[in-house]
Each structure stands twice: as structure tokens, then as C-alpha cells.
Symmetry: none
Subunit: 255 residues, 2 copies
DNA sequence: GATAAAAAGCGCAAAAACGAACATTTTCGC
DNA sequence: GCGAAAATGTTCGTTTTTGCGCTTTTTATC
């Protein structure tokens, strides 16, 4: 089990996209499939990756089926959105990252940002960002929700109001035609509201599947966020509203 | 092993790209492959890089090396202590698990306990116990300390005083001949005190290496805990004191 | 379940990279 | 300039890695 020179880059790609494919890596490095397989086997033996048919994924201590599936859903789009979002996040700021698979993707894309103060109520995000040495991590307390690694409860919103963030990145369960951000969980709405109130600037990350869905609890309006980062163009009427609200629309097409 | 003029630049490139190649460096500096190989061999011997075929990469565990070593220290003894401790922990109770490698081992031994309400200020423990579905996990908030996954800060002690635990399992940095529990970090003492105050019952887990060590900050006396779980018999005078205090001594010999 | 397709594993030969010994050049103090 | 010491270049035998053809295993589809 000797280290290969490709190991760091494979791991970086894995952390950025959440997964790697044998085909993709072979093309990327210009080597045969067999060589990549050997690399992935070694990396898996060292516990750095988890081997699956066709490639490898990040080792998930949680192994929550529903969550893993949800994370894999639109993984390419989420990674692209996360890249675009990270590119708009400066260094040396305080930043809140909310619960959600999209915000987790943003955390992965922030691994090379420097001097961030990140506050999060998402255990997975804390686990991802420990790899970034120059980043201070503050975890809000709460009850751990296994479904998504979120820390929930009344205490989270309280804790958040003790801070003032330069920037917040939030997700949502759905986004309706009126430009309202919606969530499945009423408890989380309180947290999201607290975040919007305490941030100088706010980005919403949401892939296109959020547009085709609905949810019962209203977080607020797109007019309250500074930018929406997504992967497909918005319907005409919603795009016009955003223009009126001066809400930037960033479209980052999935690979 | 003499310093070469290229060393700082090689390291800079390595840190920027995550890797360096023999070919690339030879072209960059206009020297032969053999010269670069000598440079990389020296750098690897100095521990600054890790040598691989074709080049070199950054050493893998640059940050958490201290923690991993500490965790591996007396691993057998810690596992045995953890087993003995878990055997004395009933199901259906509320439980606090403090920062520390010994308490992490206890968490691993609790993976098959049912209906526990676990409160912890240790991110690693939260990650371990997600695998136990029947266990509710509450995480105290705080700043993440990379050295050991601990969540620290003034908020932790505050948060703890909002609870009342059936049982607390705590560790300590050292245990002196007078039966005093000691810690390296004065901040943690506040947290440990809060835990002792809020628990109906307390177990201290400490392997024998703690007896041979000292630390500056005093948490409290063994007389305040209900049981000490360790891996070797205590010195005669300390054992007598514990008997007077009605502090149970549990010896779980390492494998 | 049965079957086809994709992916993974295995052994071996070729290629690349490695390290050691020795020749050559550069650097520095005098 | 001169000579010693250090650094670099050259050559060659050895080790490691890679790629190829093959069989075995896993996955997907009917």
C-alpha cells in the first residue's frame, strides 16, 4: 500500500464532487482504468475513501440511506452551484452555513478559502471544514437530527442571534412561483429567519428541482436575499421579479 | 542532509498544488532528474514531504497527527476500560460524555445501548453515536478545537447547566496522589465542574498513564465521583482514600 | 431467477522511476 | 589562481509501477 502521486488530487475531486468515477479519473490523469482501480483500492484500504462499483465516494460514518440518496441527487448540479457560490465568497469574513445538502456542497467548495469564521448548525459541514486549517468553526448546539446531520431545537435560533454575519448561505426545501422560499420543517423556519436577520448579505443556493416542488412553511421572499445561485434559468415572470428586487440570479450549469 | 537552495520553492509549489513531480521540478529549475530526486529524498527525510513514485506529496496527516497518536496511546487499555464502563451504564437514561479520548472509547462501547439521551461537547462522540439509532444526541455548541474535536468556550458550561443528567462520564488529564482530578486546560475545568454539579451520578475513566502525570488545573476530588474505572490497581494509600470516600474502583485489565 | 453487460481482480511483461557509484563542475576560503 | 569540499551530472543495475489479456464478480434488465 504505497502512496501514489494522484492520491491528493483524487481526494480533492472526491471532496469537491462527493464522488469520483473510475472512468472520469482515468480520463483526467490519462492512465488506464486498471491503474485508477488500484489507486482507489489503496485509498479505500487507508480509509480515505469508500469503494463503490464504478468509482468511490467519501467515507460516510453516518451511512444514512435516505440522506445519502438525497445527497447523490443532482450531485453534479449541486457541485456546480457550490463552485459558483464559493467563487462569490470573499476570504477573511464571518459566514453562516445552514442545514442542507446544497450548503454542504458549498462547504466542500470552501476548503481552500482562508481565514473564514464559519458558524453552522450542520454537523456534516463541521466535519467537512475541519480539513481547512485556516478556518475557525463554531457549532451551534442542539439536538442532532440523523436525517441530515442538522442541529435543531430552540437553542439554535437563540445562539444565532448572538452573532452578526458578513454573509449567510442558506438553502430551502422549495421555491414557489411568487418568489417565496419554503421549508418542510416549521422549526427550521425560525432558524432561517434568525439567519436572514443577522446577516449583512445572504445567498440562497437551490438547484432546479426546488422549483418544481412545494412545501408548507414560508421562510421569506427572494426579495430578502442578495443572490440566488441555481443551475437553470428561472421562469420569465420570476426572473423579472428578481430584477425588480435587485436579487442577482447566478446560473451555474451542471456538468 | 544539507539544505539546497531549491527547498523553499519546492515546498511552496507542493503546498500550492498538493504535489510535485520530479519531471516538473527538473524542468522548472533546469537541473537533472537525479538532482531533484536527491532534493526530494532530503525533504522527505526531514518530514516536510512524503515521497511517492514520480514525485512527492504533502504529508497526509499534517494537522491531526497529535490527536491520532494520543488516541492510539494505550488503545487496548482504553477499550477495556470503556467496556467495563459501558457495562455499568444502564439503558433509558440521560448521559453526559465529556471531551477526551477515553470518553470517546466509551461512546464506541455504547453503540448497542438503547434509548440513551446523550449530551456531549465532543464532535467525535457525536460522529460515533450517530450509528446508534436508538440514541438521542444533543450537542453543546462552541468553537471547534481541531486538536481533539472538542467544542469549547463559555457557552458550553452555560448550556450544561440547563440539563440534569442521570449519569456523567468524564475524563481528566492527570490524577494525583491526593486523589485530585487535574486538567491541562483551565477552560475545560469550568465545563467539568458544571457536569459534576448537574449529574446524579458520575464515572471517571482514566488509564494508568494518568497516574504518572501531573497537570496545573484542579477539577475536583475523586471523593466527588461515584466510580473510577481504570486498567491497573491504584497505589495503596489512594485505594484506601477511595474506600473512605465510598468511591468504587473498577479495574479492567487491558488485553 | 436467468442472462447480458459492466466492473473488478489477477498474473505477467514492459516501461518508468529509483538509488548507488563515479566523473565533473561549481563554490568558497586562502 | 589553488585546492578542498560540496553540489551536480552521467551511467547502470534494481525496484516499482503500469498496462494488457484474461477470468471472476457484481449490477442491471427482462
Amino acid at each position: 500500500m504505497t502512496q501514489t502521486i494522484r492520491a491528493p488530487e483524487i481526494l480533492e475531486i472526491a471532496r469537491r464532487d462527493g464522488k469520483v468515477t473510475v472512468d472520469g479519473l482515468a480520463a483526467h490523469f490519462g492512465v488506464t482504468l486498471q491503474t485508477i482501480r488500484r489507486d482507489l483500492t489503496d485509498l479505500a484500504e487507508a480509509g480515505r475513501l469508500e469503494r463503490v462499483h464504478g468509482g468511490a465516494i467519501l467515507p460516510s460514518g453516518t451511512s444514512n440511506i435516505g440522506y445519502e440518496e438525497r445527497r447523490a441527487l443532482n450531485a453534479d448540479a449541486k457541485a456546480a452551484i457550490a463552485q459558483a457560490c464559493a467563487a462569490r465568497i470573499p476570504e477573511d469574513i464571518s459566514l453562516f452555513l445552514n442545514i442542507g445538502t446544497s450548503t454542504e456542497a458549498v462547504a466542500r467548495a470552501l476548503l481552500h478559502h482562508r481565514n473564514l469564521l464559519v458558524v453552522t448548525n450542520n454537523l456534516n459541514i463541521a466535519n467537512i471544514l475541519v480539513a481547512n486549517d485556516s478556518c475557525e468553526i463554531i457549532v451551534t448546539g442542539g439536538t442532532l437530527r440523523r436525517a441530515d446531520g442538522g442541529l435543531i431545537g430552540t437553542l439554535a435560533a437563540e445562539r444565532i442571534r448572538q452573532f452578526k454575519f458578513d454573509l449567510a448561505v442558506v438553502g430551502c426545501s422549495a421555491l414557489d412561483a411568487d418568489g417565496d422560499m419554503l421549508d418542510y420543517d416549521i422549526q427550521e423556519v425560525g432558524v432561517s429567519r434568525a439567519i436572514l436577520d443577522q446577516s449583512r448579505q445572504t445567498f440562497l443556493v437551490a438547484d432546479h428541482s426546488k422549483l418544481a416542488r412545494s412545501a408548507p412553511a414560508r421562510i421569506g421572499s427572494l426579495s430578502e436575499v442578495d443572490a440566488l445561485i441555481t443551475d437553470t434559468a428561472l421562469p420569465e415572470n420570476l426572473a423579472r421579479k428578481c430584477a425588480d428586487w435587485q436579487t442577482d440570479i447566478v446560473v451555474a450549469p451542471g456538468a
